[in-house]
Amino acid sequence: MLDIKNLHVAVGGKEILKGLNLKVDAGQVHAIMGPNGSGKSTLSYVLAGRAGYEITEGSISYNGEDLAALPPEVRAAKGVFLAMQYPVEIPGVTTMMFLKSALNAQRRSRGESEMDAIGILKTVRKKASALNVSEEMLKRALNVGFSGGEKKRLEILQMALFEPKLAILDETDSGLDIDALRLVAEGVNGLRAPERAMLVITHYQRLLDYIVPDRIHVLANGRIVAEGGKELALELEAKGYEQIVKDAA
């Protein structure tokens, strides 16, 4: 599904990713682990198409298509979803209104018919209760005044609603206490499906106790320096990034 070859990405003229290779198949959950400044967030932004992340070399193929050529909203409609580390606040736009606009924009882009307000409301309510997203939250302005946990739950709710093909979770565990983390992880696990790939980006091993990946890649200094199964996370936890990076060199 996702095939990244020799990806070089510069931000503001500074090279952050320096020849990254990564392949993720449908139905799989891959984790990207790495220390601060290794390029984890850059990878998530370049996949989602944020402006200012310049691909200087290499390619990103998504279901055989050149992902880099597509504007972000087209990527979204084609099933690329990025659960952001810092979800953005948009005053005055209610969460429900936002969900409806985004869902229908994606449907339009795919040539599907728009869903009516009542249909969307029903769907959202059903999925919201599972994630403990209250009715009252849906009425509030998007992310405005939400706690860290509420913001992350809302991201996962959107993931459940949009049913993406490739879900990228950027530091979804940051700022969550253990109960919130469990709730979010349950939400994510519930969305594991044969047709869906997930890329879980995290600094810490603890998220991977709850979302168990098929494969782990260690990102350091803009490259994948180590790969392995889920046991690699434990090794990382024991040895620390510095040692793993040294071993790999």
Binding site: E73, A76, I90, P91, S101, A102, A105, L142
Partner: protein, 484 residues
């Protein structure tokens, strides 16, 4: 060319199409001779079949105007207006003095249909009565009979001068005096049509009233005058809309609106102003120099202004409230959008005279392109306004680094028990907000419209439901091409 640059270019090319009301109706017109003199004033008065007192009132205004100077304090710039090089009266030929809808020229009915304002009552928006003003005359007024049953007078002002002279005399010029300002005095001399509304004691007006102003003729100014009087304990909600053809010339629109609310009465006045704004290079567009004022004359009366200002090359407009009656309430909710080369200088005055008077100002200014957008407002508390309260929130949003957003609030208090609070912020559409929306599948323009509508929400909520949706769309359309 990069894809982003190409996209921007295409968007800009598409801009010419965005003003969908820019067409011209081809209809035979009758005009006053070009220029402005006492003869012009007499011509207009005669055309309207006005009584002598009205003509004298106009002539006094005209003489006064000759000695006045055009104001320059607003942050707007435009070439000197040649007042002699314009027409002050233009009306479709054969406009009957008292029209029934069957007599209205089909071309006019077609025009209003195209503008989204069907005038045939069976097709009209349920619950909304319309007075349709085309250049210098009212061409149709709907639901007059139904309103008459409730005792509500809703008619063109020229008709009111003939049919209800005592009421007109009682209120005309009492809120905006003839001498008020250069444009208001000009209007007093040459006003042609507009709407007169009188809601009798204790009556809650059974439907929304609205006037739709259309400028059609070229080289012609529109000078409408509207008076709304809400007698004791009555309520009325009124909405005006405005459009004009796309032309390279600038046309003047200098209106005067006077509102009077007596004891326990309430007037809600909403404007969706979509005059032609000029093209993306700043060519053409309407000069909208308007004086609007409401007088809360009675105790516990209330006047609420809501405006969505998206059109006009220049907007110069300060709908105000004189809070004379004890416990009276004034409100001003405003969205002003200026894109391309538009200039807007708009705001309000809240004059607290009575005890326990309250006012609230919510202003949302959006600047894009090379536009300049100014909020200018006065909150003045007089010595006798015990316990007066004002709250003002004034937010500016900038889109791009070539535009300007300015805030000029005046706060004057002379009463220690009064409380006045003012807050202002300036922000831009953050790159991360935009990216977030795009990532969730919204297109660029859709995302901008969504964010801006969120920014404006408190004001949009004030509009009557029938018009809120239209206004939301207009907010989006007005900003097309502003982010690229």
């Amino acid at each position: 060319m990069s894809s982003a640059a190409l996209e921007t270019k295409e968007t800009v090319a598409g801009l010419g199409e965005k003003y969908k009301y820019g067409f011209v109706t081809d209809i035979e017109m009758e005009r006053a001779p070009k220029g402005l003199s006492e003869d012009t004033v007499r011509f207009i008065s005669a055309k309207k079949g006005e009584p002598e007192w009205m003509l004298e009132w106009r002539l006094a205004a005209f003489r006064r105007w000759l000695s006045m100077k055009e104001p320059t304090w607003a942050r707007v710039h435009y070439p000197t207006i040649d007042y002699q090089n314009a027409y002050y009266y233009a009306a479709p030929k054969n406009t009957p003095l008292k029209q029934s809808l069957d007599e209205v020229d089909p071309k006019l009915l077609e025009t209003y249909k195209k503008l989204g304002i069907p005038l045939h009552e069976q097709m009209a928006l349920a619950g909304v009565a319309v007075d349709a003003v085309f250049d210098s005359v009212s061409v149709a007024t709907t639901f007059k009979d139904k309103l008459n049953e409730a005792g509500v007078i809703f008619c063109p002002i020229s008709e009111a001068i003939r049919d209800y002279p005592d009421l007109v005399k009682k209120y005309l010029g009492t809120v905006v005096p003839v001498t008020d300002n250069f444009f208001a005095t000009l209007n007093s001399a040459v006003f042609s049509d507009g709407t007169f509304v009188y809601v009798p004691k204790g009556v809650r007006c059974p439907m929304e009233l609205s006037t739709y102003f259309r400028i059609n003729a070229s080289e012609t100014g529109q000078f409408e005058r509207t008076i709304i009087v809400a007698d004791e304990g009555s309520y009325v909600s009124y909405l005006e809309g405005c459009t004009a053809p796309k032309r390279d010339e600038n046309q003047l629109h200098a209106a005067v609106v006077e509102l009077v609310a007596l004891d326990n009465a309430e007037i809600k006045y909403s404007t969706v102003q979509n005059w032609y704004p000029g093209d993306e290079n700043g060519l053409g567009g309407i000069y909208n120099f308007v004086t609007k004022r409401g007088d809360c004359r009675g105790v516990r009366s209330k006047i609420s202004w809501t405006q969505v200002e998206t059109g006009s090359a220049i907007t110069w407009k300060y709908p105000s409230c004189i809070l004379r009656g004890d416990e009276s309430v004034g409100e001003f909710y405003s969205i002003a959008i200026a894109n391309n080369y538009q200039q807007a200088d708009t705001g309000t005055k809240m004059i607290h005279l009575g005890k326990n008077t309250r006012s609230r100002i919510i202003s949302k200014g959006i600047s894009a392109g090379k536009a300049q957008n100014t909020y200018r407002g006065l909150v003045s508390v007089y010595g006798k306004a015990e316990n007066a309260r004002n709250f003002t929130q004034c937010d500016s949003l900038l889109i791009g680094g070539e535009c300007g957003a300015h805030t000029v609030p005046y706060i004057e208090s002379r009463n220690p028990s009064a409380r006045v609070e003012h807050e202002a912020t300036t922000s831009k559409i953050a790159e991360d907000q935009l990216f977030y929306c795009l990532q969730r599948g919204l297109g660029q323009e859709e995302a901008v419209a969504l964010i801006v509508n969120g920014f404006c929400k408190e004001v949009l909520q004030q509009l009557p439901m029938e018009f809120a949706v239209e206004a939301q769309k207009l907010v989006g359309i007005s900003l097309e091409g502003s982010v690229g």
